[in-house]
Amino acid sequence: MIGTMNKVKGVYEKYGTVIVLLLLVVVISLMNPKFLTTYNILNIFRQVSINGLIALGMTFVILTGGIDLSVGAILGLSGMVLGLLILAGTPDVLAIIIVILFGATLGLLNGFLISKVKLQAFIVTLATMTMFQGITLIISDGIPAMGVTSNAKVLDFVSQGKTLGLPFPMIVFFIAFFLLYILIEKTVFGRSVYAVGGNEEVARLSSIATVKTKALVYVISGAMAALAGIILTSRLSSAQPTAGAGYELDAIAAVVIGGTSLAGGRGRIFGTLIGVLIIGVLNNGLNIIGVSSFYQQVIKGLVILVAVILDRKSSR
């Protein structure tokens, strides 16, 4: 009996959030079978890819014990830069590469201020968030860049193309997940991310390049936010000057639901994948079963709380 209990507990510890996700899927599809159509499943993956990419980068940051509030603003600014580059006649593949490097550079600015100048991550990224939002308004004059994908074949494919019957943003998300999974689980850099988040002083004494590690996670976060900005801009075929506002909160929620500790040092990128899916399934599912918007907010808050409480229990 105790053996089985322990076994159940073991399964639960490993797959607690997966169970929450499966429960959500079962309940929602019982309430409306349209939830499990191929179109809708692909629709969910297409929609979660944006929050997903940001959350993957955010996982690295949070694992070091930091936070990146500027990701939504980086998404908005990168999307606008992409829109303006395309409308100015830049070939789309070149524009995409420039924008990803641009996002990485914005992340490097955060990383420099946090690791080298040794400022609090919260306040640095709060400040850069405000700046990046302002710069987006300056370069766009507050006007959206419209018709971005009209003459850009690659970008049009990013938004509406399919590979092996799967939406392209979904494929980008899973490739990013796979690469970042390898990076965090199988490389020296990945181990130093955990070490810095666990105990920075100990990490430094064991000759881990803490400054470099802490700076690099923001570079990754910035690049992923820019990639998400490219996908959102192509999806809407337009760059909106206020795009991305508040996206950081969904990303942080996904990471935390996935079991990564805000204190750093503990968590798994696989958990983030599940966290992203829980938020995506919830957003979509509540629309599919027709829950009114006021109740939607309450339910979303509740699910986040329940997931975090369950995770707290299982990790004790």
Partner: protein, 312 residues
């Protein structure tokens, strides 16, 4: 460490000087005899409001006013200090597009006490002594949208309703007007059915996402009413992405924004309820000008007409 700090301080000062420069050159081009008019905008991040700004500036400059523009950046709490700043600069009139109905009430009392005419546009401020309040007749726009749809589909149909930011006046009034015609619960003669109501927050990405979800849920959508054009563009994009453009879903927007006309031209959208910001902006300036010249007072509240349009 000290060097870094110094560097940042130097950069900041340099930046302030660079940004400040523009203003001082602006000042030097205007003569000191110019009457000044302050224009306070709630959010210049929304491109549609640029029409309002441009109308005010054009009309005011033609009447010999220098216009000082403030942007509230979608944060109503910024506007009271902007009103104070304008009074400090000695403006003779204020045209304000308030971010909400209360934040600027106290600051505007001071202006009213100095007998400075204040006209609010698009939203009112709860304070006595405002010269006039000009606003789009949002309820009528909603009614017209509903009537347009009833005319287009005399036998009724299935409708999706995409709402703006919940609790705001345009959301309540546009939705209320539309539902008073289309919703069978409010109009027993309606042959329509409201399939679903979702919130798009007056912006494109949430509207696109919600519409993608609803396309998965329903295969019998006849029409979508989006409470502004930005959301209507998102809806059209979702339909296109889902490969459902052959369904012939009717999309109704609200505002009369350029991007709506572009989509209507391409056959991806049907119609938009136009609010005449150009007229509102010019009329607001005319009101303060007439008051300053002859002490003439306009109506305390002016509802500006809305009309349906499918081309600019």
């Amino acid at each position: 460490m000290k060097k870094v700090r110094f560097l940042f301080l130097a950069l900041l000062m340099l930046f302030l000087v660079a940004c400040g420069d523009e203003d001082s050159t602006d000042d030097s081009t205007s003569t000191s005899e110019d009457k000044k008019l302050a224009l306070l905008m709630a959010d210049l991040g929304n491109p549609f409001f640029h029409v309002l700004r441009d109308a005010v500036v054009e009309q005011a400059e033609s009447l010999g006013y220098e216009v000082i523009i403030y942007d509230g950046q979608n944060d109503a709490s910024k506007q009271p200090s902007q009103v104070e700043d304008a009074l400090q600069k000695g403006v003779s009139a204020i045209v304000i597009n308030p971010g909400d109905e209360d934040s600027t009430a106290n600051a505007l009392k001071e202006a009213i006490a100095q007998n400075i005419p204040v006209v609010t546009v698009d939203r009112k401020v709860n304070v006595d002594g405002i010269l006039s309040y000009l606003v789009t007749d949002n309820t009528k726009g909603g009614v017209l949208s509903g009537e347009w749809l009833a005319n287009k589909l005399p036998d009724g149909g299935n409708v999706i309703h995409i709402e703006g930011v919940m609790g705001t006046a345009p959301q309540r009034e546009r939705g209320g007007g539309f539902l008073s015609v289309i919703d069978p619960a409010k109009n027993p003669e309606s042959k329509f059915k409201i399939l679903d109501t979702v919130v798009g927050d007056f912006s494109m990405a949430p509207a696109e996402a919600a519409m993608s979800d609803l396309l998965a849920k329903h295969d019998d959508i006849d029409a979508v009413f989006a409470q502004n054009d930005t959301m209507a563009v998102g809806v059209a994009r979702a339909i296109e992405t889902a490969g459902r453009d052959k369904d012939g879903i009717i999309i109704i927007g609200f505002d009369g924004a350029q991007e709506a006309y572009d989509l209507i031209k391409d056959g991806k959208m049907s119609v938009t309820a136009v609010q005449d910001f150009d007229f509102i902006g010019k009329e607001a300036v005319n009101f303060v000008d007439a008051y300053l010249k002859d002490g003439k007072k306009p109506e305390s509240e002016v509802l500006v007409d809305v009309y349906m349009s499918d081309s600019k």
